[in-house]
């Protein structure tokens, strides 16, 4: 199952957790890293080809399917795909309406994109862990991590996008002054200017931490849940090499965990969407 690393338990797990990284080697040439150490050595200016490939493929799938439905959408009776798409759209729309009370044409499509995209990426976790990497190996690709949301880059990337939007709307709605006041004039409030200045550092510290913690918690929550799920699938997959009894036990466990994981897959996508809506609502409203 592993290739460059020895066929050990540790090697197997490590291999499964290694992204297909493209970047600059130590000798100055550009190429794909052949080991975890090489990938690490590439530093920031490297890119995970597998994460990018699968996330963009799934994002494109989302856009393609929903665009097809959107083209067919009409006043008449919907059927088939359109029915399903409308159901998803209405579900997201209801959620946005219930948590977001301002006028903004971006929030609902943003929520829909995040929900469906994250859901699709999470769902890759339900594909047995060895299938796609083995196929990739047959095609000569050494590493293949198929669940983009188990790559912190993917979750941080989305959270970063949400964070930038939060900052943008905070400043747009409240003005730079209003936003700065929000960061420095609470939670400790005072009437006199001297006290205000005195409270400023503490306020700023608390508010800044809470501001920064939003994208971090948003991305780490998704990453942590999916990474843990993936890890358990990998550990269960190890059972398959331990004889007939363990293989049967592994099969049952994998099935059971997959069924349970469906819940996590859906729930995490939903939480990611809902929190995004909530953060944008907070950015729009005055405190």
């Amino acid at each position: 199952m592993a290739s460059s690393e020895a066929l050990t338990t540790t090697g197997y797990i490590k291999h499964h957790l290694q992204n297909l990284t493209f970047g600059q080697h130590a000798d100055g040439t550009w190429g794909i890293a052949h080991s975890a150490a090489e990938a690490k050595a590439m530093g920031f200016w490297a890119i995970h080809l597998d994460t990018m490939f699968w996330s963009m493929l799934l994002g494109a799938l989302f856009i393609w399917v929903f665009r097809r439905a959107a083209v067919r959408a009409s006043v008449g009776t919907p059927s088939g795909l359109l029915n399903f798409v409308e159901w998803v759209v209405e579900f997201v729309d209801d959620n946005v309406r219930s948590s977001f009370s301002h006028k903004n044409d971006l929030v609902a499509p943003l929520a829909l994109t995040l929900f469906v995209w994250v859901l699709l990426m999470n769902t890759m976790d339900l594909v047995p862990v060895d299938w796609l990497p083995e196929i990739a190996k047959l095609m000569g690709i050494e590493y293949m991590k198929v669940v983009p949301t188990t790559d912190p880059n993917a979750t941080f990337g989305m959270a970063l996008g949400v964070f930038v939007l939060t900052l943008f709307y905070s400043i747009k709605v409240k003005g730079i002054g209003g936003f700065a006041a929000e960061l420095t004039m609470q939670p400790f409030q005072a009437k006199s200017p001297i006290l205000k200045v005195l409270f400023l550092p503490a306020n700023f510290f608390l508010e800044f931490v809470s501001l920064i913690s939003k994208p971090i918690s948003l991305s780490l929550r998704l990453f942590g849940n999916l990474f843990a799920g993936e890890m358990i699938f990998i550990l269960i997959a190890l059972l398959f090499s331990g004889g007939a009894v363990l293989a049967v036990a592994g099969g049952v466990l994998q099935w059971a965990w997959a069924v349970f994981h469906i819940l996590i897959v859906l729930l995490q996508a939903f939480i990611f969407m809902t929190l995004t809506i909530v953060y944008l609502e907070m950015a729009h409203s005055h405190h």
């Binding site: 957790l17 992204n19 990284t21 970047g23 990938a39 690490k40 590439m42 530093g43 920031f44 200016w45 490297a46 890119i47 995970h48 994460t51 990018m52 996330s55 963009m56 994002g59 989302f62 856009i63 929903f66 665009r67 439905a69 959107a70 083209v71 959408a73 009409s74 006043v75 008449g76 798409v85 409308e86 759209v89 209405e90 729309d93 044409d105 971006l106 609902a108 499509p109 943003l110 829909l112 994109t113 995040l114 995209w117 983009p148 790559d151 912190p152 880059n153 993917a154 941080f156 990337g157 989305m158 970063l160 996008g161």
Partner: protein, 156 residues
Amino acid sequence: MNINLTLIGQSVAFVVFVWFCMKLVWPPIVTALNDRKTKIADGLAAAEEGQQAKAKAQEHAQQVTGEAKEQAQEIIRRAEKREAEMVEEAKGSARTEGDRILNAARGEIDKEANMAREALRTQVAALAVTGASKILSREVDADAHAKMLDELITEL
């Protein structure tokens, strides 16, 4: 598990997908949904209106039928009354006519009887005169006893 350029790549992909969704996916679907909602609401309102109109029409029809029935009853009632009247009238006129005919006939009979009586009286007078003249021959002079004979006739 390293944080690297993938982060930026994912952010860019995220922005692109959200933009696509915002421009190409969300508006047509939501527009269609809203339009359909409006259409359904209109349809329901129209159905409601139609039902109301139907109820109204039924009420009107019932009213008209009721009136027509009443009128028919009235006409029948009048006709029956008229029939009875006509029968009464006919009976009355028939009775009058009958009476008239009866009276006329009676008058005729009286007249005939009077005439017959008159003729009989004249004949009896003549017979009496003849008989008497035959019996008395001489003693009775027709002219002299004319007065007496007339009295006799009236007495008959």
